[in-house]
Symmetry: C2
């Protein structure tokens, strides 16, 4: 079955994906930190049963998965790294296309996440809201008239919603404008940071823009705000791309990246992400005829543990870099 990231979506020259995440807790149970494993499983099963027959989701207790499978889920941003750090009493509800995932007994009882290709905050929110209502029809949430949804950490109080988009910003990165943009958007209650890799040198020029405030602001206002800023960043990226469009240096970098990806026998994650970023830029500019779906899929699926999961065993780093190069040559 095709995964969600195979879709195209609006503004997909720049916006890779949209994510809505809702944090919820059941009224009648303490937060997970205060629950023993048996009670956690009980909570997990209550949520599973609430959605039974309404959403087509697979229920998996984390302890039944291999380490590689769990890390692979985190690499693909289906679960959080926090969720991946322990299997005790944790379970996952997930749709086959990986668009919907519900982490059960992470920090909160319920962390419901919906992913969409391209920019689709409205679509993602509507789907999340539908599932949220379905659960709420069966189970009562911890809710306070003044504070809104109650959560383990106060940063999630209120709507309990985090909305984010992943943006591909190679031209703004090339121009060295990301730090100043990050500082600007933070004044608007948003955060812009690398979506993959460490903070100092994000992999593949992929940046996540997300809202930070969930208290004192409606879901609609938060989404509208995020959408406005995402579109502004996209416009700036497009104009930066336009400026460097005719540069031989840029053309050279794009074609070299493509040549190396189609030829190399060894590719580290970091190098792969750097090169595929240039290829994506070249494909969007019309220099290269490469399907964006293929690029998106490779970007998501060639992280270390995901390759291990694909191959079915734990490879050494050297073996993995060879396997990554094999997959890339095969797909490009």
């Amino acid at each position: 079955m095709n995964k969600w990231y195979i879709g195209e979506g609006d503004h997909n020259d720049i916006v890779i994906s949209t994510r809505i995440r809702l944090a919820r807790n059941l009224k009648d149970y303490p937060f997970p930190a205060r629950l023993d494993n048996k009670s956690k499983i009980k909570v997990n099963e209550l949520v599973r049963d609430a959605l039974e027959g309404r959403e087509k989701l697979d229920y998996t207790e984390l302890k039944t998965l291999t380490r590689a499978q769990i890390v692979s889920l985190a690499e693909r941003h289906i679960i959080s790294t926090e969720f991946a750090s322990s299997s005790d009493g944790r379970a996952l509800l997930m749709s086959e296309d990986e668009q919907i995932s519900i982490m059960l007994c992470e920090e909160d009882h319920i962390r419901l996440q919906v992913m969409k290709s391209g920019l689709d905050l409205q679509g993602a929110y509507e789907l999340a809201d539908r599932i949220d209502n379905e659960i709420n029809e069966k189970l009562e949430y911890a809710f306070d008239e003044r504070l809104g949804y109650l959560t383990q950490f106060p940063t999630n109080l209120g709507t309990g919603m985090r909305a984010s988009v992943v943006l591909h910003l190679p031209a703004l990165a090339e121009k060295g404008q990301l730090n100043s943009l990050a500082s600007t958007v933070s004044k608007l209650g948003l955060t812009l940071r690398g979506a993959y890799g460490d903070g100092t040198a994000p992999f593949g020029d992929l940046y996540q823009l997300s809202n930070q405030v969930s208290l004192g602001i409606s879901e609609k206002a938060a989404i509208d705000n995020l959408k406005t800023i995402a579109l502004q960043l996209a416009a700036q990226e497009r104009s930066a791309r336009e400026e460097m469009k005719d540069s031989k240096l840029t053309e050279d970098a794009v074609y070299r990246a493509y040549g190396i990806l189609k030829s190399a026998r060894i590719l580290s994650t970091k190098e792969f992400m750097t090169l595929i970023s240039r290829v994506r830029y070249g494909a969007v500019c019309g220099m290269l005829k490469v399907d964006l779906k293929t690029i998106n899929e490779l970007m998501v699926s060639l992280q270390p543990a995901t390759i291990n999961a694909f191959v079915g065993r734990t490879l050494t780093k050297d073996e993995r870099d060879v396997e990554r190069a094999n997959i890339v040559r095969d797909r490009l």
Copy 2:
């Protein structure tokens, strides 16, 4: 017409080319350093006329060539950089395939050079010897019973012969063995040094092995000595290649180089030579299906002035690097 370097030749997995050069002076004229331009032209025409109807050679006074054409001849090792440094009273006799070239009034009246593909010292020497005899039938050489052929510089006294081969030694270079090999062969009266680029970092792993001694040794002995050492170096290079044959790193480097050459929009001389060296190695090992003739031709013809001469005008470095990349993509 195909140039000499299009040929294949013996040991062409490693030996690119063979060169024999004979230095001669006419008995009845002072060395060029003591001649005025008019007398130099007289000498040049005497040599030209001596070969008239015997060898098919074009006669060109250097002053009729553009600077780019002259530098291009030097880049292709058809003339020396010393010869290219001034046009006054200098002329060139050259066969259309560039195999035979005679510099007239360089340091000596006659610098006769014959090039062959691969390892062919015997063939190159026989051809040089034939032309030498043809000249000598018409013109008397400056010759001393004890010292042999007299030359402007004492280092050429005796046979007046320099023999050299250009070897492609990527595996020995990779193993860092060139310095110690150069020191070893120098004890045997031979010199091993970079054939292109500066001394410290030869371009394209191409090394020239030449004899240094022309006094007190027969042509045959000098050639046999050079041939023996060239074959030993080739054997060492082959065994070094065998050692690194199965390395993924090597395979990766070869395919990347090929991918970049087929994709890049900008290529400097130095980068081009580094990459084509890897491609040649890969072609010889059977990893890549690329014709050695094409590789040899590119290696010889993509130096700066040769590209200018090809395009017909003096390009800036940036323009040239773009043109070089265009030619390489077109040929590979």
